[in-house]
């Protein structure tokens, strides 16, 4: 076996589809291939060991109920409603949130908005542990609305945060030039943290900027 043969048949060896004897003979004589093969095996092993976090105990019931009787859970919308329904007015009734508590040194992100053009902004919050009944309040700058909440500059939701990443899809629309930032305040118990989102106007579609 030559080095090139091993490289070209690496996937088949990893999947155990080929006789390993010529492979082992070659590996014992070729440190470079041995290293490459061990690396490939290690990646495979890492993938197999990568297990998902435990499923949330209530998820199965909730998901089945939501699929079979959506009207029964209409009063308790969740993050899921945000994800599948793009810009529908009901999007923002319930939000799943988290917080990047640990990303304190990352730069503030900027969102591009064009006037009268809805834009779904995905906010990824990461929480190192579950937090029950966290409260998120949004303070919207002048000329920015959450779709379906015309004229409301202050919006508040309460939601349990999961461990790991939580996604908020926020359908925003600019009604005119936006000068200020959006503030998102996350509260849990007596603690509060404020997050800031800057806006950048897309010039071609933003009269008055």
């Amino acid at each position: 076996m030559k080095c090139q043969d091993l490289r070209s048949q690496l996937d088949d060896y990893l999947d155990g589809k080929l006789d390993e004897r010529p492979l082992q003979e070659h590996l014992s004589a070729c440190p470079e291939c041995r290293r490459a093969y061990q690396h490939a095996q290690a990646v495979q092993e890492g993938l197999r060991k990568l297990s998902p976090p435990e499923i949330h105990p209530a998820f199965v019931d909730r998901a089945i109920l939501r699929a079979t009787r959506p009207q029964a859970v209409g009063a308790h919308p969740t993050r899921r409603a945000l994800i599948g329904m793009a810009l529908a007015a009901s999007l923002v009734l319930g939000l799943a949130l988290g917080a990047f508590f640990s990303l304190r040194d990352a730069p503030v992100q900027t969102v591009a908005l064009a006037v009268e053009k809805p834009e779904t902004v995905r906010m990824v919050f990461s929480s190192a542990k579950p937090l029950r009944a966290a409260t998120l309040s949004l303070s919207l700058p002048e000329n920015v609305e959450v779709v379906g909440y015309a004229g409301q500059r202050e919006l508040t939701w309460q939601k349990d945060l999961r461990e790991g990443q939580n996604l908020l899809q926020l359908p925003l629309i600019a009604r005119g030039a936006v000068k200020d930032d959006l503030l998102a305040r996350l509260s849990h118990g007596s603690s509060t943290k404020t997050f800031r989102v800057k806006f950048e106007m897309a010039k071609a579609n933003a009269p008055g900027t």
Binding site: L14, P31, R35, Q38, H39, A40, Q41, A42, V43, Q44, G46, L47, R48, K49, L50, P52, P53, I55, F59, A63, I64, R66, A67, T68, R69, P70, R79, R80, I83, G84, A96, F100, F101, L103, P107, Q109, E119, V121, R122, M123, V124, F125, S127, A128, K129, R162, G164, Q165, N166, L167, A184, H188, S190, S191, T192, K193, T194, F195, R196, V197
Partner: protein, 194 residues
């Protein structure tokens, strides 16, 4: 297609759907997490699939091997959702802590565990991040073949994708992962001195 008893067919769809899907939700969640790398996204993906499937309850009653069939539905939903999401950028929020007493700092980040735990967590994050660099089709074939153990021949039928295409996807995905992940962090790998 399996033969469905008239009794079962006559039951309300809600009951049949619950019977069929309840044992499958955790499997779907696990697979969805392997596709997405995120609990929130996995739950959303599974929820989307359930919503889509409820109207097809009668059809599902007749499916003999439901799990691979569900995996295929999940796969297509995943690929579609990734394409839709590509149009809306993700945003990471940053705390504005100026002048604030910051009691929330003590919540998650202060809960750092032993060194090993931290290393494992870092490695896990790197692996998930590397998977995130793959395109959805590559990621799915890695999840279903390398992790869930479906053979490429099984996937050829399940995903209705030619074997050659699957092999090529898998090959490129593995190459990419190896390029993104140096050897040292793997506990299962032995370091070889040059």
């Amino acid at each position: 297609m399996a033969t469905v008893s008239p009794y079962r067919q006559a039951r309300p769809d809600e009951v049949n759907f619950d019977d069929l899907m309840r044992p499958q939700v955790e499997y779907l969640y696990r697979l969805a997490w392997r596709f997405t790398g995120s609990v929130a996204d996995a739950e959303d993906l599974v929820q989307d699939v359930l919503l889509k499937l409820f109207p097809r309850t009668q059809e599902m009653l007749g499916i003999q091997k439901l799990r691979p069939w569900l995996a295929r539905v999940l796969y297509h939903q995943y690929v579609d959702s990734v394409r839709q999401r590509a149009r809306s950028p993700a945003l990471e929020l940053v705390a504005d802590t100026e002048g604030e007493d910051d009691p929330l700092d003590t919540l998650p980040s202060a809960a750092a565990g032993p060194e090993e735990q931290v290393e494992q967590s870092a490695w896990r994050e790197r692996l998930v991040a590397a998977l995130g660099q793959l395109n959805p089709e590559q990621r799915a074939v890695v999840a279903m073949h390398d992790v869930e153990g479906y053979s490429l021949e099984e996937l050829e039928t399940m995903l209705e994708t030619p074997l050659g295409t699957l092999k090529s996807r898998l090959h490129r995905a593995r190459q990419r992962l190896r390029a993104l992940l140096p050897m040292e962090p793997f506990s299962g790998g032995k370091r070889v001195n040059p």
